[in-house]
Assembly symmetry: C2
Homo-oligomer: 333 residues x 2
Amino acid sequence: MTEKNLQILLRARPEGIVGVDHFEAVETPPPAPRPGEALLRNRYLSLDPYMRGRMNARKSYAAPVEIGAPMVGQTVAQVVDDPTGTFQPGDWVLGGYGWQRFSVVPVVALRKLDPKEAPLTTALGVLGMPGTTAWVGVTEMSPPRPGETYVVTAASGAVGAVAGQIAKRMGARVVGIAGGPAKCAYVMEELGFDACVDHRSPDFAEWLAATCPDGIDGYFENVGGTIQKIAWPLMNDFARLAFCGAIAEYQDDQPAPGPNLGQINRKRLSLRGFIVSDHPRAFAEWRRIGGTWLKQGGLRYREDIVQGLEHAPKAFMGLLDGKNFGKLIIEVT
Amino acid sequence: MTEKNLQILLRARPEGIVGVDHFEAVETPPPAPRPGEALLRNRYLSLDPYMRGRMNARKSYAAPVEIGAPMVGQTVAQVVDDPTGTFQPGDWVLGGYGWQRFSVVPVVALRKLDPKEAPLTTALGVLGMPGTTAWVGVTEMSPPRPGETYVVTAASGAVGAVAGQIAKRMGARVVGIAGGPAKCAYVMEELGFDACVDHRSPDFAEWLAATCPDGIDGYFENVGGTIQKIAWPLMNDFARLAFCGAIAEYQDDQPAPGPNLGQINRKRLSLRGFIVSDHPRAFAEWRRIGGTWLKQGGLRYREDIVQGLEHAPKAFMGLLDGKNFGKLIIEVT
């Protein structure tokens, strides 16, 4: 094989905002599979907000990326060579990893994909990790009851878009929060949310309150920051809040103070943080349920596909700034 | 009947710290029962931190006390006159109310007490609302598993003392937080907690961290404020926090900011607020279980009984300042 392995490495840990200088592109020879491993050619790389945390040295729920190592990330890939004989060359699989053209992966960590079953990229988005995150976050962490008001932050994003559609299936009145009129229109018209409020609007606080005249019963937290501060007083007694992420805070040097927690007691709130990887059984569960909805045309999604691995750093910087529109995926050329 | 009805009324709403001037003692003729009601002579009045919230006009989980109305509170009382014939004069009952010598109460709201079954005052403390609060808060809101570290704030108080003993029964290593060496000694030696840390000590933060070398898995929140700030970073992944109260904040004019909520997601925390009155079935449940332990000598408690209803305001002010030692009860003379 003459093709080089283009890799995007972590060059330096950002203090605050990520820039292109924190990454470094290198070309290396493709790696060779060790016993039990297959060599993969990555075709689609998922870019997700959690990757910002992996750039820090600080302890979190997963180990940081080492300086000089490729950035982490899940890929849809094609098998180049599988000495174990489990897969054939050209087979599509989920489970490649890294911001790189090639990866070697234990075959037991791979799941074969059937391009006729669902579009390949959905394994990284609506039917993959982000969709499963929405499934766990809504149904387990903050289950709405019919007639309740359920608010989804980052509503046009990979997770939020699915979370709102699940809450809608559960009978809730679903209110999205998104950045800008185009995203809000998409959330209402395409995703079918009952309403969507633009957090970039100068009258966001009044708009959100007016859109939730009966208060908030369920809240899918993806953003933190100012939006959290504004939504917090609107919580009803017994409201359930799923803490999935805080993208607006990922680039903060120091964590900003949060709301006074007295309301947790007075309003009998339930706040539950979760990481989807703690719920391994949910992945197949969601593929079955979400996959059925998808085939029936009852689950909408949007992908923002950027061509070329070399553009991954800039695309990722845009993701942290809300510039993507739909699930951000790199097509690895 | 010639005896007057001494009543302690709410005279003015406090802004911040409660003082004696916010109360007013009056003597009125005893009230007359309406159909379905009995006239009671209150003998023991429970003083509890939640009463501070009722002095505010601000909406909370219960209606505020009106200016000029008697302060709310539960009492153990003797029946003076029951025209319905349900109770006999002299019968002991739980369910009188108010900071007052006499009250008239629908007989359906009364529960007969047997002084031979358990000391009468325990119906206001260890076997009553505070004990039940501990039961719900530990077993439902923040259940520890054997070997885990469970931290109880206000550990020598009416609720905390029971919470720690329940967590101990569940197999946890129980660490109390209390104010001053005498309370800490009591928490360890009498209540049987594994350790107790004095939050008035200048090295409280280091002491707490050293006492929880494996972090905190369960947390019973009764205090808020500085103690909450210091304990928050010690939470382990998957820690469960029961939000019962925040006595250190009840006199604050403005709610102080809380911790950044990003840890809820990263550490997969569960924060659950609760009010015991939302769990009516738990009262009989806890009376049965806690009552058995009490008879067996396996449930310890301490009461701080103040003689004379006229001293209720000062006793209540002391309660908010941590001056009581054990369940605060007024003996109504």
